[in-house]
Amino acid sequence: MTAPLGRRLALTMTGFGVLAMAAVVTAPLVGSTSISLRRAFSTTVPFADNPDAQIFFIARLPRTLAGALVGSMLASSGVVFQGLLRNPLATPFTLGVSAGAALGAMLAITFGWTFAFAGIAAAPAPSFVGSLAAVAIVYALARARHRGLSTNVLLLAGVTMNAFFSALILFVQYFANFSETYRILHWLMGDLDISSYEPIVTALPLVALSLAVFAWLARPLNLLSLDTESAATRGLDVPRAQRAAFLSASLATGAAVSVGGPIGFIGIVVPHLVRLLVGPDHRLVLPASALFGAAFLIACDVVARTVMAPIELPVGVITALVGGPFFLWLLVRKR
């Protein structure tokens, strides 16, 4: 007998929580210069004279936290897209939603647009708008087929959207100057080298909002795994759940892309591994994927920083090397 859900939830959260915490604490200690955690947190040495603290807090911790944020957002929005579209191969990256977000952010970077909302700098706003535009297209496609998108349609639509947005991204890049181009290229490959807390802080409101919606969505996503009509006859307000899912997943993707660029395959690798461990119930899969996504991307980033040290690779290269074959394996296994 499977244990009651409450106990499984507690166990899942503890297990994956410890994993994520361990990743956040240990990742900043790994790198080309070795530092000691005890010295970094020493209260006797002033910060200005404490290189360990400087490396820990200025260079590596923001990068690690960015990994946590981006990893958890991409993994959990992957879960939401998969549940919503009833297809385990749907992710922000494969649907072209990440590319849409990247285009939005690119436009803002290149043309120097700045956004503020209620007095807070809203840097993620353009990438949110970009992901929303991409999602609107996916939504229209999904609406046209109420039994859910078939894998073929989904993949073709994703390829098309990615090609379309990539072309626009290149076009926008044409207007950027040389130093901007270098920066943009790095970011487009998926890079967590942010060396400041600002992008994380500005993304936090979007993160909090999408997490709140995800918590509400977990049970509706279970019902949507049946089909929309069966979900409706069990008492679910299906259109409302679908809108909430599309909006919150766009928010999460927008927040992630604004920080780390369009990092691929997190949204498929993480939820899939999590389902193998905790089963398909979204009330377990969603929080577990958010936590495991954080740990997974932090780990990938450690590899990216160290494997060719002192050269630091964009983390998107690592996730693609892991995720690409994984995706193909899933595709082959599925039929």
Partner: protein
Amino acid sequence: MLRASDVVFAYRGRRPVLRGVSMEVPESGFVGILGPNGSGKTTLLRTLAGAVRPASGRVTLDEVDLGDISRQVIARRMAVVPQETHLAFDYSVIEVVLMGRYPHLSTFEIEGPEDLAIARSALAATGTLELEHRAFDTLSGGEKQRVIIASALAQINAVHLKVDARDASNDGILLLDEPTAALDLAYQLELAAVLRSLQERLQIAIAISTHDLNFAAGLCRTLVLLKDGEVLASGSTDDVLTPDRIRALYGVEADVMRHPSTGRLTIVPLRRTVETPA
């Protein structure tokens, strides 16, 4: 009592599928909606379930318009079993049945021991309790169908009331759309037996749409014959199923007789009617 009055329905931009249909599913009734493919059976069932709103006419549950009742309240009274169920993810049987408890839980509430007990007695009522921990996707078509029926029973609290034997009546309603369409003969018979025993023991109301005359004749107390979106005839099974009506409905000559050993009304199709059906 679930009642449709003069229901008209058309899918967007198409000609009407239902053209003024009136019928009722009485408490503890067993109603068959019979008709050829494209006659509007499934649409009528969807209208009764509140899945689609009629363009005109009304569907009422205990004299209240379905549109005026919250989804949650409707879901606690009435459950739908679709033709086939394909899950997007690999849920276990018990997880699928527990999904029926959705309308009974508040937003962040987790299924408790009582919900689990209800789910398990629903599985027992459909003879699938031993499948409890199997992955739903590994079941046969007939087993899936029975598990989905169990989920429906858990949803309308049908089995819960059974525990209290004094409570003889149950106001739950089960709607099944073409339940035999995807099943082979053995599973069809098994399903008929399950539905018959559920109806007798739990006293819930059941309405099924089907094009299988014998399945409906052997099971349903009342029938609604649907042709081109209109009711051709309705009433008790014995009165409604006549060779004339079968000819009008399907364009088929048939003998209607009482089977010597089962005593049930049995239809033997003979040949296609030569002239166009009336």
